[in-house]
């Protein structure tokens, strides 16, 4: 393994395949130019090689910086598989028709429970119906600009929190530890999506990244 290969291996750790190819190409170009310059200055092949790699600096520092601006393998996987639920639903016509009916059924059931005096269960169903309705209608909303995406995400966050508070009533604060432990995967996913949005140009965003 050459000095450059060792440097590249360290500098591209945990990056996606596309990012690794991009880094390899640009660093290889850079290395060849640096090597040519050193050799035209009288350095031997080995000296030029060492000088060109030394000039690149610490590979771990570069790796940290690359991971801030290029997609990592985990982010690329999320981007690729981030809308698997939507694809799974859309590929089954029956499920595609049934799922949007669930929020409507929940809202009707909530109304029926109010009439029978089961207020607590009715609240939970109503909150669930609203939250699910928002999730199912999202792909059909005209959210295709970053600013609309931001507004949608804020509204969704507020509605979700509002629905939880509404469902649990005064006990919502007491249950917050349970909610926090259940919702942290969602927070982690949203955090990763923020990172992906920062790294990709808007023209490259798939629809599900706006939501």
């Amino acid at each position: 393994m050459t000095r450059l290969d060792t440097w590249l291996k360290q500098a591209t750790r945990h990056l996606s395949k596309g990012s690794v190819a991009q880094v390899r190409t640009e660093i290889q170009e850079h290395y060849e130019s640096a090597r040519e310059t050193a050799m035209s200055g009288g350095a031997t092949s080995d000296e030029a090689d060492r000088l060109a790699v030394t000039e690149l600096g610490d590979a771990n520092t570069s790796n940290r910086q690359y991971r801030k601006v290029l997609l990592t393998s985990a982010e690329a996987r999320m981007l690729r598989e981030g809308n698997w639920e939507a694809r799974a639903v859309c590929s089954r016509p029956l499920l595609k028709r049934l799922l949007p009916a669930i929020p409507v059924v929940m809202l009707l059931a909530s109304l029926a429970l109010v009439l029978t005096g089961e207020i607590k269960a009715a609240r939970a169903l109503l909150a669930g119906g609203i939250a699910m309705g928002l999730v199912f209608t999202a792909p059909f909303l005209p959210v295709y600009t970053p600013s609309r995406g931001r507004v949608f995400r804020v509204v969704r966050g507020v509605v979700m929190i509002g629905a939880l508070v509404f469902a649990f009533g005064p006990g919502a604060l007491k249950m917050s530890w349970l909610l926090a432990s259940c919702l942290w995967p969602l927070v982690w996913i949203e955090w990763t999506r923020v990172s992906i949005r920062r790294k990709l140009r808007v023209a490259e965003w798939p629809k599900h990244l706006y939501l």
Binding site: E29, H30, S33, A34, T61, Y66, K68
Partner: protein, 103 residues
């Protein structure tokens, strides 16, 4: 000497002269600062990608000495950022000089 955070501005300044590729940008910065700034070339490309993600520079395929190379050019938004950065730097430099005095 390591002036943290100045690399993006130096890159924009280099690209404001003419579109260029990574190696030439690195050489230009080193020559213009007479090697005073401690600048590792491996950190240049992450900075270029960040500028590209922010829409301050754009890249395109070019050829030099028969070899394909990725060139970068500054955008309109990059020019605006550079003008702002220059003004901020002059202000900061003036303020520090007022404290330390002209050497």
């Amino acid at each position: 000497m390591n002036f943290k955070g100045t690399l993006p501005t130096l890159i924009l300044e280099a690209l404001a002269q003419e579109p260029s590729h990574g190696y030439r940008i690195a050489q230009q910065i080193k020559e213009r600062t007479e090697g005073v700034l401690d600048f590792k070339e491996g950190t240049l490309y992450p900075a270029l990608h960040k500028l590209e993600n922010e829409g301050l520079v754009e890249s395109y395929e070019g050829v030099e000495k028969g070899r394909p190379r990725r060139y970068y050019r500054i955008t309109e938004s990059g020019h605006e950022t550079l003008t702002k950065d220059r003004a901020e730097w002059r202000q900061l430099s003036r303020a520090v000089t007022m404290i330390l005095g002209e050497a």
